[in-house]
Amino acid sequence: MSDDRSSYDPDPVEGGADADIGRILRQQAASAGQALIFPAVALTIALLVGAVVILATGNNVFEAYAALLRGGFGSRAAFGRTIANATPLIFTGLAVAIPFRGGLFNIGGEGQLFVGAIAGVWVGLTMPGPGALVTVVGIVVAGLAGFAWGAIPGLLKIRGAHEVITTIMLNFIGINLAFWLAKNPLAGTGAVPGTDFVPDNVRIARLGGGLGGAHWGFALGLLAAVIAYILIWRTTKGYEIRTVGLSPGAARYAGMSVAANGFLAIALGGMFAGFGGGLESLGTFGKVSVPFISNLGFNGIGVALLGRNHPAGVVLGAIFFGGLAAGAQEMQFSTGVPLDLADVLLAIVLLFVTATKLVEFLLGRRARSLAVGTRLEKGLAG
């Protein structure tokens, strides 16, 4: 492939899209295959390092990895656990990927998710009306709350405050605000501190079919990825966001507002994290407890990097993360490998996915183009 870059990044110019659908599909398939090489190499190396760790804990490597695979994808129940884990990660992954395309690094997914979660439960607990309507309103309000929480660093960015700092700080505020609300105005009566459960008819239905705790939020996650793709690659606004991300100078010269597009990118990211939070609180848990979820927002950064900040990649990355967590559970059940090994594997995978120079060394310089979408310096331009 001589034109890796353009084939990875499908022709953004309107009119080119329907010129030769067959050619584009072939290109897409080829680029998708190439896109997988990079994470695959990282995964192989991680599995090798993980094997050393497993041996060091006195366990059989193949038994452990077999359990890992079985626990993630080996049965309907296992796959259900995987996609239940993956559901919020799709959203928090998008919460990083979209601002990244606009040149902003959103570390605030955790706080945005908490704000969305508590907003969703607030609607679920207090709004009268038919269950399905309450659910829909709850999810929408969760997204709006996340949008508002993401808008704050967006506004501060226009005023010159770096979004990395402001989003990190807003995490603490968002998390503690959600906890305060869950323990005071919305406090429930159960043994676990936090809100009460939302009514059963408000709670997001499970997928069923032996998939355990997986609920319809997963379908919404796939839908969200499609919407994010259309938004960023198939609309004028998305084109502007990507242009600002790639080259703020050129964007400004072309008459685009760097400030407005950056604001929109990070607020949209917050909105997706907020949706994810609402689905967790209205679906997976049915309430916001204290402590609530942990690290979904931060793991979203890993998901986005692994998925190279592309919606399709984010979905795959989320399923990978979710599968690893589900598999680690099976691994600690049927072997003596500690749960922490999953974190070690993840960390190594991410290390190699982001350490592009290392993989260039392994695969040759021509592999450099494969790294597109994960190189922070590109995303952080300006």
């Binding site: 190499v41 059989n60 559970q329 072997t335």
Partner: protein, 368 residues
């Protein structure tokens, strides 16, 4: 090309893994003709150590996990004891996130473990969700109550152990040692999250102090009203120093990791601390920790496994473990035992016996 080789290797590895995956749960190795599988045959899974029992007992930790030197470790010790003494088949699943609670409980239940212990009140909702799906299996929740016919709720009368700590504090504050000042009969209590649970510790401690020293003053302070109050050593130190400034020369804490601040302060100012949950004197050598109030989650777990094996599982009941059931106790005086006169140890033994005999009822709420 290097790419090709790498991909081939990757593919081979993937094949191997999937091939082994098909080999069933307990298959030891993969294909013998594959040199890469010749690892040392270290089988990590627990094999039952003889014994006639066919009990399969398991537990799920909360997010604190194993190694917390607190109730997760203690519960595990109880399970280990069931394994070695009764030959029970055991398994422990740790939880990395609250989502894991239901997953882990379900996994153990599907693998026919029973009884299954959920360690910690944070798992209350998860047990209430999972237990009804497996009505023929037994569950137990520690430190909380779940009203299901197949769930035993294991709670502790922490006030009874705290009462003994109060007896020690009330008597020792009148002694003349390098750590205590007999002229000022003031002792302190450092609580974590202010709520019904820690109030029980306070109530028992205060009652214990008053029982041996009616003119002693007990200063009470709490670190906060959020779970963070159990993990705030800085606040613990600040409060401890303040209580010491007000004359408290013995301070008992029920505040989780916040207590580390008390130990710091006790070490700086050379006054006595009393630990909680596990034998904290043994864990902090050199620090003037007089004794600790023990919460024997291990005994509660072991007794419950035993009851299950004897077809006496207390499903649907709330069991409270106090001094009589060896659910709580006071640790042995360790490093500073020489400073403790025999009257004090005698008084502790007497108080313990009176509580066990039912002659003394320890209040659950302060000010009774």
């Amino acid at each position: 090309m290097r790419t090709g080789k790498l991909l081939a290797a990757l593919f081979a590895l993937a094949l191997l893994i999937t091939a082994c995956g098909g080999g069933g749960e307990t298959s030891e190795t993969g294909d013998a003709s594959e040199p890469a599988t010749s690892e040392p045959a270290a089988d990590g899974s627990e094999a039952a150590v003889g014994g006639a029992s066919d009990v399969r007992a398991a537990m799920v930790t909360d997010v604190g996990g194993l190694g917390d030197q607190s109730f997760n470790d203690s519960a595990n010790a109880g399970l280990e004891r069931a394994k070695s003494e009764m030959g029970a088949d055991t398994n422990v699943l740790e939880s990395a996130a609250p989502t894991d609670y239901t997953n882990n409980l379900t996994q153990l239940a599907q693998n026919t473990f029973s009884p299954i212990f959920a360690v910690g009140f944070l798992m209350t909702d998860a047990v209430a969700e999972v237990a009804p799906q497996f009505p023929d299996q037994a569950f137990a929740i520690i430190d909380s109550v779940v009203e299901e016919p197949n769930v035993a709720s294991l709670t502790f009368r922490e006030q009874e152990g705290s009462y003994l700590a109060g007896v020690v504090a009330g008597l020792m504050t009148q002694e003349d040692t390098e750590f205590t000042n007999p002229d000022d009969k003031t002792v302190g209590f450092l609580g974590g999250l202010e709520g019904p649970l820690i109030k029980r510790f306070e109530a028992g401690y205060t009652a214990g102090v008053q029982s041996v020293c009616s003119d002693c003053e007990v200063l009470v302070e709490y670190a906060g009203t959020t779970p963070e109050a159990f993990n705030d050593p800085a606040a613990g130190q600040e409060i401890s120093l303040r209580l010491n400034d007000q004359g408290a020369d013995i301070i008992y804490h029920a505040s989780g990791a916040t207590g580390a601040g008390l130990f710091e302060a006790a070490n700086d100012r050379q006054f006595f601390a009393i630990g909680v949950d596990s034998d904290q004197a043994a864990l902090n050598p050199g620090v003037p920790i007089l004794t600790s109030v023990l919460k024997r989650v291990d005994n509660a777990v072991f007794r419950t496994v035993e009851a299950y094996a004897n077809d006496e599982f207390p499903g649907g009941e709330v069991q409270t473990f106090g001094l009589a059931e060896e659910g709580v106790d006071l640790a042995e005086f360790g490093e500073f035992a020489d400073l403790v006169p025999s009257e004090v140890t005698d008084a502790v033994d007497q108080a313990r016996q009176e509580i066990i005999d039912g002659n003394v009822e320890v209040p659950e709420e302060p000010g009774q």
